[in-house]
């Protein structure tokens, strides 16, 4: 089955700055992919390229099998889009926006729109211009979900929301997930970890890796090694990230964990060391480890 969304060597330059560099990515149908990365990693630019809001400098992208540069109304009717900075028509209330949008989408679900409005407690009858930031985001989410899109693209949907609102938005997304494909970009790693089954990490416009979340969780481990003497930390494997020397111990994130070979690797690189703890790494910690590693080793 063709991926719901894919890019090939996608590149976008702003003057001399390459915001996205040769991005090649494919997201299978039905998966929920988290696009994570630090600020300036190129997440928003990538999504805007996918949505044809920006034109690529090189490469191409497809949404639901259609070239992004040729997205038609029929294709857009199958895509839901929520963006942090998206400008909504400010003179309309959510009800008016729904009434306006309904004829545009063949699969618009009026009942779902009403249910989501209630569930998210979007203020009724209030024009968008009078809504809080969180309420606007919720309204945008209702508009994106009510057409039951095959593909949902969300750019920083949790930005600026308080924890309660994040929880509500997350619940709404999970409740309406079904078999749709979702691309969600965020640096709120904990939030997307609860939603995503795939993860793609961007840094400085480049794709660091993209894989199923389960594979990533299997690959990353927090490792602690007890050492009797202070070890030399200058020739460690590149897959050991964020290595910290503690009194009598060394702690690191192993990004290529293999239980069978870990002991030998520790013995080789930290002579006399003994693995005392191996714990699953949270997505947040893995993301931070990767980000710090890239910051210290840009190449």
């Amino acid at each position: 089955m063709a991926p719901a969304l894919q890019t090939q060597n996608l590149t976008r330059r702003f003057g001399r700055t390459e915001a996205v560099r040769g991005l090649t990515l494919a997201i299978p149908v039905g998966s929920v992919c988290a696009l994570v990365g630090p600020n300036g990693a190129g997440k928003t630019t990538t999504i805007r390229l996918l949505m044809n809001l920006l034109l690529p400098s090189a490469g191409r992208s497809e949404m639901l099998g259609v070239d992004s540069r040729r997205l038609t109304a029929a294709t857009l009717a199958r895509i839901g889009y929520v963006s942090e900075g998206q400008v909504l028509p400010e003179w309309m209330s959510l009800e008016q926006l729904c009434a306006f949008s309904a004829p545009l989408y063949p699969a618009w679900d009026t009942a779902l729109a009403a249910q989501l409005s209630r569930q998210l407690m979007v203020p009724a009858g209030v024009p968008v211009r009078a809504m809080s930031r969180g309420a606007r985001m919720k309204a945008a989410l209702v508009l994106a979900l009510a057409p039951r899109p095959e593909l949902l693209v969300m750019d920083e949907p949790f930005s600026g929301l308080d924890p309660l609102m994040r929880e509500e938005v997350g619940d709404a997304l999970r409740a309406t997930a079904g078999s749709r494909t979702v691309l969600i970009s965020s640096h709120e790693v904990e939030e997307v970890e609860r939603l995503a089954d795939r993860v793609a990490v961007l840094d400085k416009g480049r794709l660091v890796f993209a894989e199923p979340l389960a594979d990533m969780q299997a690959r990353f481990r927090d490792v602690e090694v007890a050492c009797e003497s202070a070890p030399a930390l200058n020739s460690l494997p590149p897959s050991w990230l964020v290595v910290e020397a503690l009194p009598g111990a060394v702690r690191f994130v192993d990004s290529a964990f293999d239980a069978a070979s870990l002991g030998a690797a520790v013995e080789h690189h930290l002579p006399g060391g003994r693995v005392t703890s191996v714990q699953p790494t949270s997505l947040r910690r893995a993301f931070l480890a990767l980000a710090r590693d890239f910051r210290s080793h840009p190449a």
């Binding site: 809001l53 400008v87 306006f100 949008s101 004829p103």
Partner: protein
Amino acid sequence: MIAAARLVRHLVWYDLRATRVLSLVWLALVALDLAVLALGPGDVQDEFDRIPIDLFLELGRVLGAAVVTVAIVHRDPLVDVAAFWRTRPIPRITLWASKWVSVLALVVVAPAMLLGVALLAAGLQPGDAARGAVDLAFDHLGVAAVAMALAAPTRSLSQAVIVALGAAVLLISAGMLIDPLLPSWLDYRPAPAPAFSAAVAIILAGLITVLHYVTLRRRLVIGLTSGAALLVVFMMSGQTPFVPQTRPPAPASLVAPGSVEVTLRRSSELWRPLDTTADAGHAFAAPMDVRSADPSLIFVPRLGRTTLHLAGRDAAVWTSVDEPRPDQRRPVTAADTPFAQVSALEKLPPIRPPERADVRANGVSFQVLPSAFAALQAGTASASVAIDFDVHQLQPLFTLPVAVGATAMVPGGRVRVVSVSVRNTDVDVQLHWLRSSQPTGPPAVLYDPTRRWAVAGGTWSARRSATGWWLDLDTTRQSLTFPLPAGARSGTEAGGAPVMSIVMYEQADTGFTYAASIGVSAPTPAP
């Protein structure tokens, strides 16, 4: 197609609904303006009382049309990457069509219908009212087209205003920079009819907005808009075309050859030395009487080549009512024939009073080199000049008693006397002029029709706009000022019966004009 039409209707409904407050305010202003236009002002005595009202209503209506258009377009801005509408399943061409339909409905059709109703209520014939409504619609369509071209690549009214100001600066700067680089003959490029230029502007604006909606290439659209504006301004700033030399000569019955005389006096105060250089010679300027037996004729000096003769030698020179052509701007030298044209034929009054068959031109002037001047003074040379005139025939438009409330129906409209006042020796008459065009010349004012005594020199105080369309301020109210006839104390005699009448003429729509070559000769030198 049906689905697209439904979608357009859906979008138009939301556009009109979203702009309802602004639109209603503007339509109220339009209704007020059109009511004043159609029903006429009250007894307005003071010019200062009426100008602000007219200016407010006129400017409010035109600027309001632009603002409403921009507001409709900006309800769904397609500018910027955060634009909501770029991620909705609306074909952009449909969105474009919906904008035009909304603008046409609100800015073009609604005011035109209001004006049609107002004109019918004012007593005009349905055909005339429809013509006025169509003229207004065309007027507003031009405003809306320009406003749409400004609104499409911008996101807010302030941005659109900035772009408009920038475009104006660009046009002026480009004109100043480019004009000296153009070949001189381009200065005399013909200007197409204003309606044609307006139609071109509307079509270009429509194409540019389509291009923006389809491609969303903002810089390209702004560049093309600037180019289109340059093109239209270039077109509209052309000159009135030269009258083709192939025009048929005036028949003898229309103007008699030799009926025009100009005297070149050998020794006269009319000669004045030119002080530019010692060799510049003298200039001659003489009043010229154009006489004809037909009072309905007007004579307009033709631009172009004129022949001078001095002592049997021909000199081809140019006459002009303005500046000489650039390629004619050169100093006169001894190598030239003795006569060379320097200054201009001043404009002849383009209308003839009906009772006196003469029009006085301010003069015809030549520069004469010292040798030629000496020959003329010595009486050893004679001179003649042939000047071509276009001869237009006029037809009476209406006769209106000078009395408040007097009304005359004219083709396509109506004229009414709003006020009459006598100030010192002048009579001021204000007319409500409900017509798409004004007469081609100043009116004649008759005092006591039984004696048919005419006062010439009435003038229009208002300017005519470049477009001459229906709702121009200048064509809706006019003010006449003419000298009080001798013995008259007011516009009425005892009993209130009007004794003065205004007679206006306009050029007959004959489809062509005559050319008459009128000889002007100096007297034979005294022996």
